[in-house]
């Protein structure tokens, strides 16, 4: 009967956070809700065919014809499946979660690439973040932010940070030493070396990190349907609880379509310059 339960310490800690930092959490919650609603509104105001047309046009201009065809197929599929609103909600969640993950992981990853000690300190934390089953994050997130989209986003960010951070560190470690020496030897400032030498050299690996971040975030957002995050996750949850194979399959395929869309578009948009080279 003598079991050690971290929960015995963590639950009071979460309670303590809740009582003492509630205003801060309320502000965070408010900001996330506002941005999320903004993105959703932007995606849902126009009718589906118009949004598809805009995305396809933008893809043709910014990326290329192949990406445009892919975007048309993916979005068209979501629309025809009758899951347009849910898909747009999911995209909004993922876009925001990935943006925040990258904002946190990218600078930390660069610092970790330069300082061994920072990396050594971060590594166990990242291991925990990646191995603890994602449901577990949802519990404190829900305790602090209550049900809805905000705990879903928070849990998704926690899940999205490790791949981005690890691959950012790897990417910057992999920049050839002679390129960095070149920067120093021509008298470039550290910021210039980072921006003009290291970043372009690190780009391929960074793109892999972004891709992993997007895909894992999408997986988590779907799981977050359990806590009322809405979107395709809610459809999957409904299909599961009602044992409706058809609904589950449709929602599942729509998730694949969204994943393809976000991954290919982000990758080719960021990778465009290299192709010109």
């Amino acid at each position: 009967m003598n079991q050690i339960s971290p929960g015995a310490f963590l639950a009071p800690a979460v309670d303590w956070l809740n009582t003492n930092f509630h205003p801060i959490f309320a502000v965070i919650s408010r900001i996330i809700e506002t941005v999320l609603t903004g993105i959703e509104t932007a995606l849902l105001t126009l009718p589906a065919p118009a949004v598809i047309a805009v995305v396809v046009l933008a893809a043709v201009l910014a990326v290329g014809i192949r990406a445009a065809i892919l975007a048309a197929c993916c979005l068209g599929f979501c629309w025809l499946m009758g899951l347009w609103t849910a898909s747009m909600q999911t995209i909004a969640l993922v876009v925001l979660a990935v943006a925040i993950s990258v904002l946190i992981a990218f600078p930390l990853g660069i610092v970790a690439a330069r300082r061994r000690r920072v990396e050594a300190a971060l590594r166990p934390i990242l291991d925990i973040m990646q191995t603890v089953p994602p449901w577990v994050y949802l519990i404190p997130a829900v305790m602090i932010f209550s049900l809805g989209r905000v705990p879903a986003i928070i849990a998704t960010i926690v899940y999205g940070i490790p791949p981005m951070l690890r691959l950012t560190t790897l990417a910057f470690r992999g920049v050839p030493n002679d390129l960095k020496e070149l920067g120093q030897a021509i008298g470039a400032r550290p910021g210039t070396i980072l921006w003009k030498i290291e970043l372009p050299a690190a780009k391929p690996t960074l793109l892999v990190g972004l891709n992993q971040c997007i895909l894992l975030s999408l997986a988590m957002v779907v799981l977050a349907g359990l806590v009322g995050a809405g979107g395709l996750g809610a459809e999957v949850t409904r299909g599961l609880t009602r044992m409706e194979m058809g609904l589950g399959l449709r929602a599942g395929l729509a998730i694949v379509a969204v994943a393809l869309l976000l991954d290919r578009l982000s990758r080719s948009a960021l990778d465009r310059k290299r192709k010109g080279a």
């Binding site: 030897a185 021509i186 003009k196």
Partner: protein
Amino acid sequence: MDIKNSDAAEVLIDCQSVWKVFGEKSTEAIRSITQRGLTKKQILQEFNCVVGVSDASLQVRRGEIFCIMGLSGSGKSTLIRLLNRLIAPSLGKVLVKGRDIAALNDADLRQMRAKNIGMVFQSVALLPQRNVLENAAFGLEVQGVGRDERNRAAEAALAKVGLADWTQRYPSELSGGMQQRVGLARALTSDPEIILMDEPFSALDPLIRRQLQDEFRQLTKDLGKSAVFITHDLDEAIRIGDRIAIMKDGVIIQVGTAEEIVMNPADQYVADFVAGISRLHLVKAHSLMAPVAGYAGNVDALPRCAPDADIDALIGAITGGHSDAVAIADNGGIVGIVTIRNLLLGVRGETADASRAA
């Protein structure tokens, strides 16, 4: 190889008893070197520190090409990085144009690297996402020079290395030799007085390498630049260098002109190195000649050569006529005689004095 001229010239880089010790306990290691005079081996045993460069002193003068020759692990790459402070010395001073670069703040150090010291790397280190022109202009770009001005300078530098038609190409489209030309052009674009060359031609095939060696020497002399040139190839050092420093295990064993090193190697290591080097174009009459008094024949009938004529020229002079010796004339007077015996010894890298003593 005009030694008289370069003697008088201004010293651009003055490296004074510089040490570099790598390792966690390098501070303690340095202290014991200064206080107890430990050797490299003792440092490794006691502190587990590697001595990269040990008590190196050298001076690079304006307009001079200074070669540092050593095998891998001899510390030559570390030494060249100490000269522009890519690596900070553990002990000793490096003066560039009379200023101690350790005393410069970050901004001044950047300024000095940008304006005074260019560098060319063995791996070329071109930025793959930029075309040749953008690569060549990169040094000026980070200095904040406007696009038109830096492109003009880069085009001029690319023209000097024979790449005027390649400005819009990307590095991956260029051969190794051409890439290294871009590296050189990039260093020239900022118009520095000193160019540090870190084994720039080592990865190239022999024909291209020789061609680039000759072009580099010509270009450096034409532009009046000074260069420190790192190489593991003694032939290359002799082709390019006005003076050569031989390095082994972090120590500079000998500094001198190619002729001095070949004729008077400082130790067995250098002697082994120069053993295979052809003396034909290296050894000059003034180091071979014997006193006129020792010659039994008629001096006036001999063909004449200048003191800086090499063995090849002397052989030509002797075989052209029917004499057995050449008179060496300087300023109208005859200063010495080179006999066939002297020539044969010279080809073996010996002088008459040395063989007599032996």
